[in-house]
């Protein structure tokens, strides 16, 4: 029999979109956290790290309530897009962004902290504007943080289960990601299919990590 690979493609699409969104919002957040002396810093750090310790069901439960069309946020999104966040791909992306946020922000924040103010001040005195020096000095120096953050976010989203179950349910082609599909196959004693999907996920995850750690050797930690 040929396996149903649709859940794998859905998972990959979810992980990819989530990682891109995380790159866009995680970078400024990590940059701010790395540089700020604000009293809000520990508060934001704690919020960012919450998904690390909360059971996915708790996170998923609150997200489900937030996404519900009865609440302000869910209702606003519905009126804006004509689409409900619950049991939809967009909802899954939002939930995954929250769920994987620490995996992007923490490596990036450490990398930016390691770069420090030194090279940035040097770049400023050489005439580089803040945006210029962020892209031409801080970002390349923080390359390892970016690679780690991207890979961990991607892998973490790929393996997501509890939050998806709470927020997205099990709708084929829309919210039925690979982990849900495996769970369902096991529940219905369809072990052959479960074996297929598990093996694919295992092989894929290993391959991704292998590539990353190989590439990572080309970006040794730089100490001046």
């Amino acid at each position: 029999m040929s396996p149903d690979l649709a859940p794998l493609w859905l998972s990959l699409r979810l992980a990819l979109v989530t990682t891109v969104v995380l790159l866009v919002i995680g970078t400024p957040l990590a940059w701010w956290l790395a540089g700020t002396k604000s009293r809000l810093k520990p508060v934001l750090e704690a919020i960012t790290a919450l998904p690390l310790v909360l059971p996915p069901t708790v996170l998923g439960f609150y997200l489900l309530i937030l996404f519900s069309t009865n609440t302000g946020f869910g209702g606003f999104f519905l009126s804006l897009t004509g689409q409900s966040l619950t049991f939809s791909f967009t909802g899954l992306v939002l939930a995954s962004v929250v769920y994987s946020l620490p995996f992007m922000v923490q490596p990036l924040q450490s990398a930016f902290e390691a770069v420090g103010r030194g090279p940035m001040e040097a770049a400023a005195s050489l005439g580089a504007s803040p945006l210029d020096r962020f892209f031409t000095v801080a970002s390349p120096l923080a390359m390892r943080g970016y690679i780690t953050g991207l890979v961990l976010s991607f892998a973490h989203t790929l393996g997501e289960f509890g939050v998806v179950l709470m927020v997205g349910g099990n709708i084929p082609g829309r919210t039925k990601v690979i982990s849900i599909a495996i769970y369902e196959n096991v529940e219905t004693l369809n072990y052959a299919q479960a074996h297929w999907l598990s093996a694919v996920l295992l092989a894929f995850s290993f391959a991704v990590l292998l590539v990353v750690f190989t590439v990572n050797r080309r970006f040794p930690v730089r100490v001046i």
Binding site: P119, E121, A122, S125, L126, G127, V137, I224
Partner: protein, 364 residues
């Protein structure tokens, strides 16, 4: 560049940095003072790296701080940090190109001239991680110059280097204003560096400027010796190489008409240089001594006698006509020779006592 005038305030951990000072638009000005006196902070305020600073910084026509504050990247200052701060993701040429691309103005500083002046031609394609401390600092100075700065700020750039690297780089720094037309403000707590490269000295202590003036004047002032250190007190003589005696391995230096002999220097005739005579190396006599090995004997008048409280010593400032000289002798000698201000004396300086390391632009 027109002058730089600074009137600023910056609270620090242990004191408030409060400076009102005008800096020369020419030559090398050293900011000298003990570690932690606020001189580096002052430099950072001028460069725009201390956002909490209050007051005014005005450079020529441009307001850098006060009113509408100009961000650091628009000020066109070359900042050389103690730790060089080269960009680790670029090689040496990449670091130089980074500055060239962002130069906001053409001050006529050419890449070739900079590479030659700093002697970094052979380093261009090396990763910066492989450079020695001295090499890094030379690349850092070159990089700053290629930003076409109107002012160079240097924050103890040689503090972490060994003696040889220091001796190689100091003359290069002393040369920058003449060679590239950029004034330099140089922070240091090492008096030998002050003596070697400064034209002007600004002395600082716990956040305040306590004195400023031309270097020769500053190092002569007995009231500043708490800072300059008694052991190091002395005079700087500005002269030109007048001739060489190859056989005797001597070089004669003309200081405003007075000849000083010193051990042979590999420097062309006519080259200007700076000799430093420490006060403790000067002997005084009331008659011209004869049958003595000392080669440099010049007569003059005592300008000032400054006895030190509770010590055996008196600082004596002597006018030799063309220059001043400072001597450090005992109270007992002053009494026995009946020295007073206005006395006619002979000042004796042994040729071997010239500090050859203290000669910018000259191989010792």
């Amino acid at each position: 560049m027109m002058g730089l005038s600074v009137d600023i305030r910056l609270p620090r951990d242990r004191f408030v940095l409060e400076v009102s000072q005008t800096f020369s638009a020419q030559g090398v000005t050293t900011l000298f003072g003990p570690s932690g006196c606020g001189k580096s902070s002052l430099l950072r305020v001028i460069a725009g790296h201390e956002p909490r600073a209050l007051g005014n910084v005005v450079c020529g026509e441009d307001v850098w701080l006060g009113g509408k504050t100009m961000p650091a990247h628009q000020r066109r200052v070359g900042f050389v940090f103690q730790d060089a701060r080269l960009f680790a993701h670029l090689d040496v040429a990449g670091n130089l190109a980074f500055a060239e691309k962002r130069a906001r103005h053409d001050s006529g500083i050419r890449r070739d001239a900079v590479i030659e002046a700093l002697g970094i031609d052979a380093l261009l394609h090396r990763p910066v991680q492989d450079l020695s401390g001295g090499e890094r600092q030379r690349v850092s100075i070159a990089r700053s110059l290629l930003g076409q700065p109107r002012l160079m700020l240097m924050d103890e750039p040689l503090a972490a280097l060994d003696h040889r690297a220091k001796a190689r780089i100091l003359p290069m720094i002393a040369d920058l204003p003449k060679r590239f037309g950029v004034p330099v403000i140089y922070v240091t707590h090492a008096l030998d560096e002050v003596a070697q490269i400064s034209d002007h000295v600004v002395m600082m202590q716990t956040g305040k400027v306590i004195a400023d003036g031309p270097v020769s004047e500053m190092l002569e002032r007995p009231d500043l010796q708490g800072l300059t250190g008694r052991f190091e007190a002395g005079t700087i003589l500005e002269g030109v190489v007048a001739g060489h005696d190859q056989e005797m391995h001597l070089t004669s230096v003309d200081v405003g008409g007075l000849a000083f002999e010193m051990p042979y220097l590999d420097a062309p005739i006519g080259q200007s240089l700076r000799l430093r005579v420490r006060a403790r190396d000067v002997t005084l006599a009331v008659k011209r001594p004869e049958g003595i090995s000392t080669r440099n004997i010049h007569d003059g008048r005592i300008l000032k006698l400054s006895p030190e409280e509770g010590s055996a010593f008196v600082e004596v400032l002597i006018d030799l006509g063309a220059t001043h000289l400072q001597a450090r002798v005992t109270r007992a000698a002053v009494r026995d020779l009946a020295l007073t201000e206005g006395s006619h004396v002979f000042a004796l300086v042994k040729s071997v006592s010239f500090d050859r390391r203290a000669l910018p632009g000259v191989k010792g």
